[in-house]
Structures are given as structure tokens and as C-alpha cells.
């Protein structure tokens, strides 16, 4: 195995472009190293991106948007007060990943590029409209988070491409987001269903909404029918029931050791309602602690 720690994304891209066999980028390593030790994936080339300048920075831009370096850890996000105030759903989704130890290493980019349909931060990023900057031999492009995963363990990144930044939009006023996942325990488990909701209010009425589901299909889903169910409503019971029905209808899950098709479909609706209520309360300026459903 060859290990590299390039000083720039261009260099990292070139290394990946020219590498033979299996290549992995090393961010926090909480997927890469676990898979290595468990004899699941033994990379031929390991490219550590943590030595590149700025990869640990959390920056708020002049327009209120955020740029996160690709090595920013979950713990750094949780401790960042104004990021947490702007995007509590994204931050709480990343905070759900692993334990205190894992939080000290794990990144949004790694969670996304590992390609797990159950990755916790991904639905939250999709609901929030997050994009990533992808750098390759021909320069950089900006890609919506939802367009990165293409199936379990697969991404749309070409050979030689890597993520060089995470871009979170400006939050703006009267808006809130939330992420809930279902696990049978309280910690250290993998989402059986994950639901993220981001919305904006005008008074009591929902004017914008994005609803995203995880672990219920081969890739993360952004469900327009869910958004339509609550846009224009005050999140009354009828709107919530319509939201739940739309979420359940959008599910295309499998039965496996973690849950049945029926269970995932039902619980997606339940969590959609609960997450929408939290996002709504946050948009109203209330501080709501997310719970592990």
C-alpha cells in the first residue's frame, strides 16, 4: 500500500488519477481504517487529505453561506456556535455519527463519499441544499450533495476527482432544519430510517420546504411530494398526515437484518412528522434539542 499526504487538491487529484488499483482518500478514516482492519477494503493507494491548507476551516462568507473544509470533524461542527444556530439539523445529523471518539475524526465529506445509503449527515445536507466542490484534472465544479451517491458504496466521482470543499447555503430568516433517525438503541447504531426537513415560514405558514429520506432506498431521496404536502400549511394535522403519507409512499426499502420494508415505510412517515415539527419550531426561533427518535 502506498501512502501519500499531498499539499494541494491538484496534487491529490493527480496522485489519484495516476494510481493503479483501489484508491481511498483518508479524511477521518473512520470508514477507511475500519474497512481496512476488517479486511473489507485494502487500498493500494491511500491519499491523506488532512495536510492540505485550510481543510480544517469553518468559514462564514459575506453572503451568510458557509464553507467547510473537508477535514472538519463532527466535534468541531458541534462546538461551532453560529453554525449550530444556522443549521442545527445538519449539525445534529453529523453529531449522531458514532461516539465521542469517532466524532473527533469523522467528516461530512467522508460520510458522503463512503456512499452508505444510511449515512446520517447526507439527508440533512440534501434537505439543506448543500453542495460540494469537486476538484479533478480539469479544475473544479460544484455538485449538489444528492448527486454524489449513485448506489451503496458508489459515487459519481470520476477517477482522479475528489471533494475539496463543502458549501452550505445562507440560512436566511424564519427558517429551520432538523434531522431524526430511527435506531433500536440510543447510540452507536446505524440508521434504519433517517429523515431531514428544512423549511422557511412566513408567519405561521410554511413557504419553502425540502424533505429528504435516508436508508429507505439505494441512495438518499429528496421528496418533492413531502415538501408539497406542507408548503402553504401551518403544519396542521392534515398537513402532517399528508407529509407522512408522502414520505412512506416515497420509500423503496429492502428487508434486511436492520428492519423490514413495512417497518421502514411506516417509520419514515412517523419521523417525517416529528422532524417537520422540530424544524417548524426552530424556524419560529425556539431552541429545540433533537432527540434520537
Amino acid at each position: 500500500m502506498n501512502y501519500h499526504s499531498p499539499a494541494s487538491f491538484a496534487e491529490a487529484s493527480a496522485l489519484a488519477e495516476n494510481a493503479d488499483g483501489v484508491t481511498r482518500f483518508l479524511a477521518g478514516g473512520t470508514d477507511v481504517l475500519v474497512q481496512l482492519r476488517a479486511d473489507i477494503v485494502t487500498p493500494d493507494t491511500l491519499i491523506d487529505i488532512k495536510k492540505i491548507d485550510g481543510v480544517s476551516d469553518i468559514t462564514q462568507n459575506d453572503d451568510g453561506s458557509w464553507t467547510l473544509g473537508v477535514a472538519v470533524t463532527g466535534a468541531e461542527m458541534t462546538e461551532h456556535a453560529s453554525l449550530s444556530r444556522d443549521w442545527p439539523g445538519v449539525v445534529e445529523a453529523m453529531d449522531l455519527v458514532g461516539s465521542t471518539q469517532v466524532q473527533g475524526r469523522a467528516t461530512l465529506t467522508g460520510n458522503l463519499c463512503n456512499g452508505s445509503p444510511a449515512a446520517d449527515s447526507v439527508p440533512a445536507m440534501v434537505a439543506a441544499g448543500v453542495t460540494v466542490t469537486v476538484t479533478g484534472a480539469d479544475g473544479s465544479r460544484e455538485v449538489a450533495v444528492g448527486d454524489i451517491p449513485t448506489g451503496p458504496g458508489r459515487t459519481s466521482l470520476a477517477k482522479g476527482e475528489l471533494v475539496s470543499a463543502v458549501n452550505i447555503p445562507a440560512r436566511g430568516d424564519n427558517a429551520g432544519d432538523a434531522y431524526l433517525r430511527f435506531i433500536p438503541r440510543t447510540e452507536m447504531d446505524i440508521a434504519v430510517v433517517g429523515v431531514a426537513v428544512s423549511l422557511r415560514l412566513d408567519g405561521d405558514t410554511v413557504t419553502e420546504a425540502r424533505v429528504s429520506l435516508g436508508a429507505v432506498a439505494p441512495t438518499v431521496l429528496l421528496v418533492q411530494e413531502c415538501a408539497d404536502a406542507i408548503i402553504g400549511s401551518t403544519l396542521d394535522d392534515a398537513a402532517l398526515d399528508a407529509l407522512a403519507a408522502a414520505a412512506s409512499a416515497a420509500c423503496n426499502p429492502i428487508t434486511d437484518k436492520r428492519g423490514t420494508v413495512e417497518f421502514r415505510t411506516d417509520v419514515a412517515g412517523v419521523l417525517a412528522k416529528r422532524a417537520a415539527k422540530i424544524a417548524y419550531a426552530r424556524a419560529k426561533g425556539e431552541t429545540v434539542k433533537g432527540d434520537h427518535a
Binding site: 476488517a38 479486511d39 430511527f182 433500536p184 438503541r185 440510543t186 447510540e187 452507536m188 447504531d189 446505524i190 434504519v192 434486511d256 437484518k257 436492520r258 428492519g259 423490514t260 413495512e262 417497518f263 411506516d266 417509520v267 412517523v270 427518535a293
Partner: protein, 746 residues
């Protein structure tokens, strides 16, 4: 005081000093199974079957043997031949013969100069399989069309006409159950299933083995019983028992799962072939795939009750699947099932069924928790139907001293009534429940065990004491031994060092199982201390020139008594030991026996469950364990055992399970998907220690290690069923299962 009187006032026993192994464990100095190294040591890796059932056509080891760094490859051909009985079963389990019997069954092993090389070499061993039909479910394994796993395994107990996968049968009871059911106002019969769970000890199996061409060997391993390991490894390797010295490492949990051998004989075989020490350490996946989980079960229970709560008859059928080998503890399941109740009419039947799964191993009170789940669920249904208080009903029927037990003998002093009264009077039992919560209770029973025991106690010149016991310390037993020795000798706890001796140092000691250590090694420690006291009194008598029986032992001193009382200054222990070399030689005490008075154990658990009706998720807001300890030698460790039983029971009841795919492969061989409760899943588990002394122990001790896992499955099922408003019949009560039950109920 005559030495054999039962003591009731204690100075040291019943206090809570720090454990002697505490500093080592919190600083990392303690040496566990994987912490041993030896010069020239090799690393082993095991090749395992990916099939649930397959004939091994051919094993080609040539590529692995040709690899640089590889020093030995072994298969079954490298083990002894001609074994029978349990030796053969254990050998067949640690290294497959003609047939791989479950996913994860070892088929070959390799030793190399690094762990990575060993892992890579294992991949080069080519095994050709002919896949055979398999079965993993207990009911399906008994069905007429089930594939036959090992024809001819059944013993003579099995009734005519059963499938060859049914390998043992048990039946017991007394009275006339048909007549009893006829007397009942209400009879409820119901069926239940439980999935296999793993003991889940945090430390995977690990060992360092060295065996020379001269047939002399050394083995370091994490085990609950190193004499067992010695005997079985010697047999499997074809060497003499005494030529293999086995040392038990510190042990990171066992719960019954380390009462047998898995990798140890393999490491010895590799070492013998390579002529180098070999270290073998299992991964967690290997632990889950190839070491003993519990049995899975399928059970039918029928109980008749009068309107006033009197049980008129009880009957149970218990089918246990214990992997591809005989030995599922179905007779314990059957015998424990109704033991808490004084019944005129009772009958219980057990079936031991083999299937394509790993060989089951003991897990705390083997077989009993499942029985309690079925029986106590039916009692709860009867209480609900007849509108009776669950504790009062159990009190009304509770076994007491003199009761003829459901499994035969008459009980001596037991503490079930005291436990039930403590439950009834506990604030938990009367606390109001919140919306969505239900409360469950259950009794639990376990036999407890004595077993071969040998203890040696040696005095040092400065008056301190070394105690050598042969039972690995899996629950703080060194502290308990030191407390009992200090109580007997009348010297401070800190003056005693307790060591787990290796197999070359003491006579045979049975495994640390059956909740036997505090009872049996404790009894032996007390007796060994008494033997040393007798010798010290003899030395004092000689010094004073008075008869031996005119010296008594008081508060750590020899004191003249009877007509000589007051004639001489008392001699402290250190005074006697200081010149023992000149007064007759070193002083020590020994005790060897197979004590028979273990004293059965009962407990009662109260648990509140909260069920989320929309997701089927259960949380446990409150839990209380009440159990008879006879005499709690170190109450903090007794409480720890109670809490540990409840914690493991919560896992078993709610989320832990072996999940097999259609292909017979284990789907969840990692802790991510084998869902043991994490700390935040558990409430603070409250405990009440009841003390009804065990007449079979000088200080009244009963073992407490196992009974604590008997009531939780049932107590939680009763709480969940009441909270959800629907009776749960199958474990684990995972959210999908509860949600499905709620939906089916409308």
C-alpha cells in the same frame, strides 16, 4: 466457637473494600489473553467455512505453505484420533472433520511470522466444498423434511419416531396434570420463541501456546477454567494431561462462554508443528460466528389457576437448538421452569435439537431464562384475565422450605418468599406509571453448583497470607476470597493476597461457572484458613507447653483458654509466623473437596417499560433487582452481578439476536448489528440484597452470578406487553416485531 458453626456476626465479610485487581485494571497493567508474548512467537489465523453445511472435499494448503513467513499449516489430520463423547464433540467443533457444520466452522489454520502474513496465508488455503442442505431454526430442524445433520447422534432417551436431529429427551414432574387442569377456573396455553444470543464478553478469545516435540507444553489463555482447558487440550492433541501447564490470564468477561476451548487446541497444534510459540486472537466476527451463543428455543406452556390465584397444574414443552452438537441445556430449562412454585401437579418435557449453528455454550443460568420467559408470561396472562395482583399470585404459590420442587428434591432454606415480599413492599412496585408505560415482574430460579475445588493458603514470615485458588476471577472473587480469609483469620483484608494459581500449582478445580466460586472456593478458603489456624494453635501450645486443645484462635491471635486462660500473653499471627521455620517449618493450609451444599437461588425483578406506539421502540425507565445472596460477602460486587444480569437480560429481551439468512450464514457478526445495549440504553438498575443464609456454607453464602439473568426476559416481556396492550410471544421484542404486533392487533 466450634469451627463448623455457622457464623452470623461479621467483621470483614459484608464490607466494601477496593478490589485487589482494581489498580492493575484501570492502569492497563493487567495482562489479558492477548497480552502475552514469547520469544520467536508466531501468529495464527483460522480458515472458516462460509457454508452452513458442506462436505469438505479437499483442502489444498500448498500455496499457503509456500508463502514466505509461513511456518505451519494444520487441519484435522494434525489432531488426535479415536476420541469419543464430549472430547470428540469439542474436537469436531474446534476443527471440522469431514463436514463443515455451520457458517464459521474452523477447517484449517496457519501460523506465520506476522499477523498480517497469517491472515494473507489463510486466504491462500483452498478448500473445496460440496454444499449440503442446512437448517438453522429449531422447529424446522425437528420437522419431518429437515435435512439430517449428524445421523446417529441421538441417545437412548429420545422417543421412537422423532427426527434424527432430536438428540436427547428429558421428562420430569409429579402429580396428575390432567386432574389439576380440571380443577382450574382458567387454563391458559401459549407458545413462545427466543432467538440465540451471545454472552458478549468484551475480550475476544486469545491465547499463547507452546508445545514441543517432547509432548510438554505451556498454554496461556483467557478462560473460566484452566483445568478444563488442560484436560481437553491434552486429549485433543493426544498428550498427557500433566505435561500441559495452563495459566489463566485476566479475563475480560466470560458469562459461561469461556467454559470451553475453541482456539487453544488449534494454537497448540500449530505450535507443535512449527516448533515455535503461537499466539491466536479471535476477531469479534469470529467470536460471534464460531463461539458459543445460547440455545434458541421454541416452547409451549400450559397453566391452570383458580380464581383466587392458586395454580392447580402446570405443563411445559421446551425445544432447544444448541448448534450442530448435542448439549443444549434443555433439562435445565425444563427443571427450572416451574421451580419457583409449589405445585401438586407439574410436568415438563425437553428436547435437545441439533441444527447448522455454532455449538452452544453456557450463558449465565443456561436454559433457565427462556423457561422463565414462557412460564412467567403465562402467569401474567392469567393475572390479567383473573384481575389478580402479579406479586400476590406469586406469593400465594411460592416455593418455601420443605416444598417438593418441580424437579424433584425438597427445598431447604430458600429466600423466594422474602424476595417477593421485598418486591411487594418496594416503592417501585407501587409507583405510578406514566402514559405508555407498563410494569412487569418475574421470578427466577437457578440451581447453583459446587464442583471440584482445591485451595492452598500459605503464611509469610511477616504474618501476611497468600491464598492460591484455581477459579479464574470473573466477578471480583479475589476480593471475596480475601474477605472470607480475613474474617476467618482475624487479620486485615489488605494483608491477604489472592492469586489464581496455574494448573501445576493446585489440584483439579472445576470451572468458574454455576455461580460456584464465592460458594465453593470461598468455603475451601475458609477451611484452608482454619487448617492454618489449627497449625498455629499447635505451635502456640508447644511454645506455652500446654495441650493443643487448650488454645483458641481469637481476633488474629492464639489465646490460651480453659484452665490456662490468662496464663500467657496472646500470640499474634506475625509472632507465630516470624519463627515458624524453627518451630516446625512453614505453615500453610489446604482444602480439597467437591462441596455439595451450593444452595439454590431465587430472585424477583420489577421493570417498567415504555413503548413508542408509532415506532415500536422500547425504553426501560426503571428497573429493580431483588435477589437472595445468602450472605453478601462483598455487597458492591453482589449488586454488580445483579445489575449485570439485568443489563444482559435487557439486551436479550429487546434487541440481541442471531440473524441467519436463507443461505444459513450469520448476517450480523459485528457489534454494529448484534445489538448489545449501550450504556445510554439502560436506567440505573436498583438492587435489593435479600439474605437468607445457605445452610451449606460456613458463612451462609449462595452464588449470585447467574440467577440475575433469569427473570429479565419475562419481566420485560410482561412490562412491554402491558405497555403495548398486546402480548409478545417472541424474543427479541425488536421495534419491527412490536410494531407488527401492534398493527396486527388493530
Amino acid at each position: 466457637m466450634a469451627l463448623d458453626d455457622r457464623k452470623s456476626d461479621f467483621t470483614f465479610v459484608g464490607t466494601r473494600p477496593d478490589r485487589p485487581d482494581g489498580l492493575d485494571k484501570v492502569t492497563g497493567r493487567a495482562k489479558f489473553g492477548a497480552d502475552a508474548v514469547a520469544p520467536g512467537m508466531l501468529f495464527g489465523a483460522i480458515v472458516r467455512s462460509p457454508h452452513a453445511h458442506a462436505r469438505i472435499v479437499k483442502i489444498d494448503t500448498s500455496k499457503a505453505e509456500a508463502m514466505k513467513g509461513v511456518k505451519a499449516v494444520v487441519t484435522r489430520a494434525d489432531f488426535a484420533t479415536g476420541l469419543t463423547g464430549e472430547f470428540w464433540n469439542v474436537q469436531e467443533n474446534v476443527m471440522a472433520g469431514d463436514t463443515a457444520l455451520y457458517d464459521g466452522h474452523a477447517v484449517a489454520a496457519v501460523a506465520a511470522t506476522s499477523a498480517l502474513d497469517a491472515r494473507d496465508a489463510a486466504k491462500l488455503i483452498e478448500v473445496e466444498y460440496e454444499v449440503l442442505p442446512h437448517v438453522t431454526d429449531v422447529d424446522k430442524a425437528m420437522a419431518a423434511d429437515a435435512p439430517v445433520i449428524r445421523d446417529g447422534t441421538a441417545d437412548g432417551s429420545v422417543p421412537e419416531g422423532m427426527h434424527p436431529n432430536v438428540v436427547r429427551y428429558h421428562e420430569s414432574g409429579h402429580g396428575d396434570v390432567a386432574a389439576g387442569f380440571a380443577e382450574a377456573d382458567l387454563v391458559i396455553e401459549d407458545s413462545f420463541k427466543t432467538e440465540a444470543t451471545h454472552q458478549g464478553y468484551i475480550e475476544p478469545h486469545a491465547c499463547l501456546a507452546s508445545l514441543g516435540a517432547d509432548g510438554k507444553g505451556e498454554l496461556w489463555c483467557t478462560t473460566q477454567g484452566h483445568w478444563y482447558a488442560q484436560k481437553h487440550c491434552a486429549a485433543l492433541l493426544g498428550i498427557e494431561t500433566s505435561q500441559l501447564r495452563v495459566t489463566a490470564s485476566e479475563i475480560g468477561g466470560g458469562f459461561g462462554g469461556k467454559t470451553t476451548v475453541f482456539i487453544e487446541p488449534v494454537a497448540l497444534a500449530l505450535s507443535r508443528k512449527a516448533n515455535r510459540p503461537v499466539k491466536l486472537v479471535m476477531s469479534r466476527s469470529e467470536v460471534l460466528r464460531a463461539t458459543g451463543p445460547t440455545s434458541s428455543t421454541s416452547m409451549d406452556v400450559k397453566i391452570g389457576m383458580k380464581k383466587d390465584g392458586t395454580i392447580t397444574a402446570a405443563e411445559g414443552v421446551f425445544r432447544l437448538q444448541g448448534g450442530a452438537f448435542p448439549g443444549a441445556p434443555m433439562e435445565f430449562t425444563a427443571m427450572c421452569a416451574f421451580a419457583p412454585y409449589a405445585l401438586e401437579n407439574v410436568r415438563q418435557v425437553g428436547y435437545d435439537v441439533i441444527a447448522n449453528r455454532p455449538k452452544q455454550a453456557a450463558y449465565r443460568a443456561p436454559g433457565s431464562p427462556m423457561a422463565a420467559f414462557a412460564v412467567e408470561s403465562v402467569i401474567d396472562l392469567l393475572c390479567q384475565e383473573l384481575d389478580l395482583d402479579p406479586v400476590e399470585v406469586r406469593l400465594k404459590n411460592a416455593s418455601k422450605k420443605g416444598t417438593k420442587a418441580s424437579y424433584g428434591p425438597r427445598f431447604d432454606d430458600i429466600g423466594l418468599v422474602e424476595c417477593l415480599e421485598a418486591a411487594r413492599d418496594h416503592p417501585h412496585y407501587s409507583a405510578p406509571l406514566e402514559q405508555g408505560q407498563g410494569r412487569g415482574i418475574s421470578c427466577g430460579f437457578w440451581f447453583n453448583h459446587g464442583g471440584e475445588t482445591s485451595v492452598s493458603l500459605a503464611l509469610s514470615e511477616d504474618g501476611t497470607v497468600q491464598v492460591s485458588v484455581g477459579t479464574p476471577d470473573i466477578g471480583g472473587s479475589r476480593a471475596s476470597m480475601a474477605l472470607m480469609a480475613s474474617e476467618t483469620l482475624g487479620i486485615p483484608y489488605e494483608n491477604i493476597r489472592v492469586t489464581i494459581a496455574d494448573t501445576a500449582t493446585l489440584g483439579y478445580n472445576d470451572v468458574s461457572h454455576g455461580s460456584r466460586v464465592t460458594y465453593a472456593s470461598g468455603l475451601a478458603t475458609i477451611k484452608a484458613a482454619q487448617a492454618a489456624i489449627a497449625e498455629m494453635c499447635k505451635r502456640a501450645a508447644a511454645k506455652w507447653g500446654i495441650p493443643e486443645d487448650a488454645v483458641k484462635w481469637e481476633d488474629g491471635c492464639a489465646v490460651p483458654s480453659g484452665p490456662n486462660a490468662g496464663d500467657f500473653e496472646p500470640l499474634a499471627m506475625a509472632d507465630i509466623t516470624a519463627d515458624m521455620g524453627a518451630t516446625g517449618g512453614p505453615i500453610s493450609g489446604h482444602f480439597e473437596a467437591t462441596p455439595e451444599g451450593a444452595g439454590v437461588s431465587f430472585g424477583v425483578h420489577i421493570v417498567d417499560a415504555q413503548v413508542d406506539p408509532e415506532t415500536g421502540k422500547t425504553s426501560i425507565p426503571r428497573y429493580t433487582v431483588i435477589q437472595d445472596a445468602g450472605k453478601a460477602v462483598h455487597p458492591a460486587y453482589v449488586e454488580g452481578q445483579f445489575q449485570g444480569g439485568a443489563a444482559q437480560g435487557i439486551g436479550w429481551a429487546l434487541n440481541e439476536e442471531y440473524i441467519y439468512g436463507e443461505d444459513g450464514r450469520l448476517q450480523n457478526a459485528v457489534f454494529l448489528d448484534y445489538r448489545i445495549p449501550v450504556a445510554s440504553d439502560l436506567p440505573m438498575i436498583d438492587t435489593v440484597i435479600v439474605e437468607v443464609p445457605n445452610p451449606g456454607h460456613p458463612y451462609g453464602v449462595r452464588g449470585v452470578g447467574e440467577t440475575g439473568i433469569v427473570p429479565p426476559l419475562a419481566a420485560i416481556a410482561n412490562a412491554v406487553s402491558r405497555a403495548a396492550g398486546v402480548r409478545m410471544h417472541e424474543l427479541p421484542m425488536s421495534p419491527p416485531r412490536i410494531l407488527a404486533a401492534l398493527k396486527a392487533d388493530g
